[in-house]
């Protein structure tokens, strides 16, 4: 059981949780994640460690409510507990001094991008972060990213904040205006990582991406998280989650992520109906 110390809404459907996990707070490195089970019947869901405070013994998770487990998590209050938190999992991101590093976070991917930007900067790189969101209301962690980077470029699909357009446009402009960066790290929706990788491949810029396939155990035991990288089978939970973006089979990953769509929607819908019924029952005096 891990206590939730804070739960704050930071954007539409996006919450930041501060969770007591002293040991994980000490050990985790940038790029690692935890697996959470909300309650006794819960699914095991992987979530990146967005930040940690070893002195306070806490980790920070930034989670978008997209389905049953993440929506249920959003209803928890400080003082409530998560049934299970296991981590740190995955291999830490390989951090070295390369010169100029561009860190790209798309949507909820800004949360996992944050510790990477921090670590790259601490290693002596000049960090330019590109943050992408559909619209301003969905943009998260801009302040934190500014602190972790030398420069931040914001873009939104609808132009409500920063440049209008996709992160790939911002990256292409950056390359055109200022030349090639030495390294790119991208995390976010799979199509975004795919198009970033295509672009950087053209320019020959080394690029790492952080993959998020469906996972179960997170220790290399089930193989559910397997991805194809350079025509080899890899288990993202132990061999990754970071891989060379120029070698990843993104189309396969997109299909694998969608495998349980119908069942997930059913579970989410039933939960919403149950919640509605409960609040109705509470509203009607018996």
């Amino acid at each position: 059981m891990n206590e939730i110390l804070e739960n704050t809404v930071i954007a539409e459907s996006v919450n930041r949780y501060v969770i007591a996990a002293p040991k994980i707070a000490q050990r985790r490195k940038a790029g690692q994640f935890v697996i959470v089970r909300v309650d006794e019947h819960g699914e095991r869901i992987p979530l990146t460690i967005a930040d940690a405070d070893p002195a306070r013994g806490t980790i920070t998770l930034v989670v978008q409510a997209v389905g049953k487990s993440t929506a249920q998590m959003a209803t928890l209050k400080p003082g409530d507990s998560l049934r299970d938190v296991v981590g740190p999992l995955g291999a830490p991101t390989h951090i070295e001094r390369r010169g100029t590093a561009v860190v790209i976070g798309g949507g909820i991917g800004i949360a996992p991008a944050h510790p990477i930007a921090q670590a790259l900067k601490a290693a002596g790189n000049t960090v330019i972060s590109i943050l992408g969101a559909r619209t301003q209301a969905l943009l998260i962690m801009e302040e934190e990213m500014r602190r972790a980077s030398d420069e931040v470029i914001v873009c939104t699909d609808d132009g409500t904040c920063g440049l209008q357009g996709f992160v790939t446009h911002a990256l292409a402009d950056l390359i055109a205006q200022r030349g090639k960066p030495d390294f790119v790290f991208a995390v976010g929706p799979v199509p975004m990582m795919k198009y970033v990788s295509l672009l950087t491949k053209e320019h020959g810029i080394p690029t790492m991406v952080s993959l998020n396939p469906i996972m179960v155990d997170g220790t290399g035991m089930c193989g559910g998280c397997r991805v194809t990288v350079g025509s080899e089978m890899k288990f993202a939970c132990v061999d990754g989650p970071d891989f060379d973006g120029h070698l990843v089979d993104f189309d396969e990953l997109i299909k694998r992520q969608a495998f349980y769509k119908e069942q997930e929607q059913l579970a989410y819908q039933q939960m919403q109906e149950r919640c509605q019924a409960e609040s109705l029952a509470q509203a009607t005096p018996s």
Binding site: K23, H41, M221, C222, K255, R256, A267
Partner: protein
């Protein structure tokens, strides 16, 4: 299950002559009918009623030199406990079993008795052997159902402490014996539940999880601490455990699933057996959406492999509602490593055996879900390294089977996480196992012991338990003497 004892009948049976005993037929366990059980996850056999157990026990000839004991990897005093059942003294019988085997309710259900004790039983030379496994199960269930389970006494505190990595049968057994010897024990378990394969692998219908939980509770009542969600190699290394503990036992099992490297293996609907079984057993996907973890809804499932794991998957798929379940195995039935009982149960449940077949590739639909498996026919050639005849493909015999789910159950290797993060721990390069002296269960690293599947590759519950016991004795020796380089421990 009937508990009623009939004293007259007990006396009559006891007075039988050996010849008459030999005439008693092997007693069967009542079980759920195949068409009924195919639709539920409850345990298949119900266990022997008390009087039936006594009848079965009377088939034993109480041999002076009991061959059966030789066949038992841990050497249970089989005629001893069977004789107590004959007298109706079930409590005495279970005590006797537990002198050597702390987890009889589990072993009675999952041990391959037909290849161990029962294979050597003298009665079996001329008929069916004594049903030793069923009797073992009976006494263990009787004890639990009567609330008589008592944790064994713990030894006087030694002030030493041992870290056990993994809560499978190897780790649990080592923990129990170490507590008996007075050492402090903490188990570190990667998952959120204990038991290893007993919990996440072997299905409910073969080993109810309540039984595994009951055994784990005993371990905890003995004062063993269990830290869940604790992945050694990530949160801490073995070297860090050695700073806190006087010795470490590795019981991390063989949990790394093998694939065959076939085209289409990453299509949706293609699972490893570990994933399929974990979703179903540990995460209870069969109760979805009451439990949150989904599993593929399937009509036609192909299971690749011929061992216990493949049988468990096939029977699980049937229970999850698949109409057709094919078991695709590259050799013939005679070479199947699965237990006879499992093969028999699978057949009864309508699993279709495609023997001497091997998959060559998987074909997907436009959404990326598997829709066909292409197979090739095989024939048996010369014996290979395992002594079994090597299957060779029949040129040009490819054909396809329509499926919507495939489960690859061709075996597992040890997970490299701990070996990779532990300096000075020698690993067998070919098998990935931790090099372990099987007399002393000691590894190449001072203070680190290993046992179970991590030491010998995927094997059996009883071997893992045997290793756990041996390791506990060896650890005790090390903690008392401080001597590491020994050839044998007594």
């Amino acid at each position: 299950m009937s508990d009623q004892l009939d004293p007259h009948e007990i006396e009559r049976l006891r007075s039988l002559k050996p010849k008459e005993r030999m005439q008693i037929p092997r007693q069967q366990m009542p079980e759920q009918a195949p068409d009924v059980r195919r639709a539920n996850f409850r345990e298949v056999p119900h266990g022997l009623p008390a009087m039936t157990a006594i009848v079965e026990a009377n088939r034993c000839l109480a041999c002076k030199k009991p061959a059966c004991v030789e066949g038992c990897p841990v050497g249970i005093d089989i005629p001893g406990f069977v004789a107590l059942i004959v007298q109706g003294d079930f409590e005495g019988a279970v005590r006797k079993v537990k002198e050597t085997n702390m987890l009889p309710a589990i072993c009675g259900r999952v041990c391959p008795q037909e290849a161990q004790c029962e294979a050597l039983c003298v009665v079996g030379k001329r008929g069916d052997p004594v049903a030793i496994g069923r009797l073992e199960r009976f006494v263990a269930d009787w004890e639990r159902e009567h609330g008589l389970v008592e944790p064994p006494p713990t030894g006087a505190p030694t002030g030493k402490s041992v870290g056990v990595v993994g809560s499978g049968p190897a780790g649990l057994t080592a923990a129990i014996d170490l507590r008996r010897l007075g050492h402090e024990v903490t188990i570190y378990e990667a998952l959120h539940a204990p038991g290893g394969v007993l919990m996440y692998g072997i299905p409910e219908f073969r080993l109810p999880k309540s039984i595994v939980s009951a055994e784990v509770e005993v371990v905890q009542r003995m004062g063993v601490q269990i830290e869940y969600n604790y992945v050694i190699g990530q949160i801490e290394t073995v070297d860090e455990l050695l700073e806190r503990h006087d010795a470490v036992f590795l019981g991390t099992g063989a949990g790394l699933p093998w694939f065959m490297n076939l085209p289409g293996e990453n299509l949706n609907g293609v699972y490893s057996a570990n994933e399929y079984l974990t979703r179903c057993n540990l995460m209870r996907a069969y109760e979805f959406p009451y439990s949150d973890t989904p599993i593929a809804a399937s009509e036609r499932v192909a299971v690749i492999g011929g061992g216990n794991v493949a049988m468990d998957v096939a029977r699980t798929a049937a229970r999850l509602g698949a109409k057709e379940v094919y078991l695709i195995y590259r050799r013939s039935e005679a070479e199947m490593p699965a237990r006879i009982e499992e093969i028999h149960h699978a057949r009864e449940e309508g699993i279709v055996f495609k023997l001497l077949h091997n998959p060559v590739r998987y074909i997907g639909d436009e959404c990326g879900r598997v829709c066909q498996v292409e197979c090739i026919r095989m024939e048996l050639g010369e014996p290979d390294a395992s002594g079994r005849r090597r299957p060779v493909p029949v040129e040009g015999s490819q054909f396809t089977i329509d499926v919507d789910t495939v489960v690859v159950a061709i075996g597992n290797g040890p997970n490299p996480l701990v070996p990779k993060t532990t300096a000075g721990l020698d690993v067998d390069a070919r098998h990935g196992t931790v090099k372990t002296n099987l007399e002393t269960m000691r590894t190449s690293k001072r203070g680190v012991f290993a046992g179970g599947d991590i030491a010998i590759g995927a094997a059996t519950v009883i071997l893992a338990m045997g290793h756990g016991r041996k390791a506990a004795r060896s650890i005790d020796h090390f903690l008392r003497t401080g001597v590491w380089d020994v050839e044998k421990v007594e």
